[in-house]
Symmetry: C2
Subunit: 110 residues, 2 copies
């Protein structure tokens, strides 16, 4: 592809890659509802604190969330709620896939 376009696609891919993990999708969805600190998210997700912290740093580095320290916890917020629109489309893909699977099964049974 034209070399001047490369960096643009790479930048986009970095953002999307930051979302491409089950726990991080959970975090995004949760933060869309309300801000949360690491401890809360850790408990909800059920893995090691350090793991959740790393996920948060991935999201932060991508610019998807911002953090603010209050009392002795760090609260994370979703910066661009539009990322939630993704989910709708992803679900559309998933149900299209499910439908196709169903059709294939139906066809084989005949």
């Amino acid at each position: 592809m034209k070399s001047r376009l490369r960096p643009q696609y790479e930048a986009r891919a970095r953002i999307i890659k930051a979302m491409a993990h089950p726990s991080r999708l959970f975090i995004i969805e949760e933060l869309q509802k309300q801000e949360r600190c690491v401890g809360e998210l850790t408990e909800m997700i059920g893995s090691d604190t350090s793991t959740v912290s790393k996920h948060l740093s991935v999201l932060r580095n991508a610019g998807l969330v911002s953090d603010e320290k209050r009392a002795n916890s760090i609260y994370y917020t979703l910066r661009c709620p539009c990322v939630m629109d993704f989910i709708g489309c992803v679900e559309e893909v998933l149900s299209a896939n499910a439908k196709e699977h169903a059709d294939i099964l139906k066809c084989c049974k005949k």
Copy 2:
């Protein structure tokens, strides 16, 4: 997170992960304009045919594209054009990030 939710987040993550690569984003955007065969995409992207073929199989396995053989080429099509909506949001994140960077620079110069 509640164990019955896990599979759902994993399914979503698989779809998003399939998009999380510069070449695959390019392919998605190109296929949104018109169907293309492997050879055409290979030339546009400029990497090995086998590499592009693998990218296409990632997209196909995710259910994002479908393929149809005609003459002696295989033509790929975008199955859910809504994935293009992603890009708008991703660009929003990118420009928010750029703005923040600019603000930080401005602040430091003072």
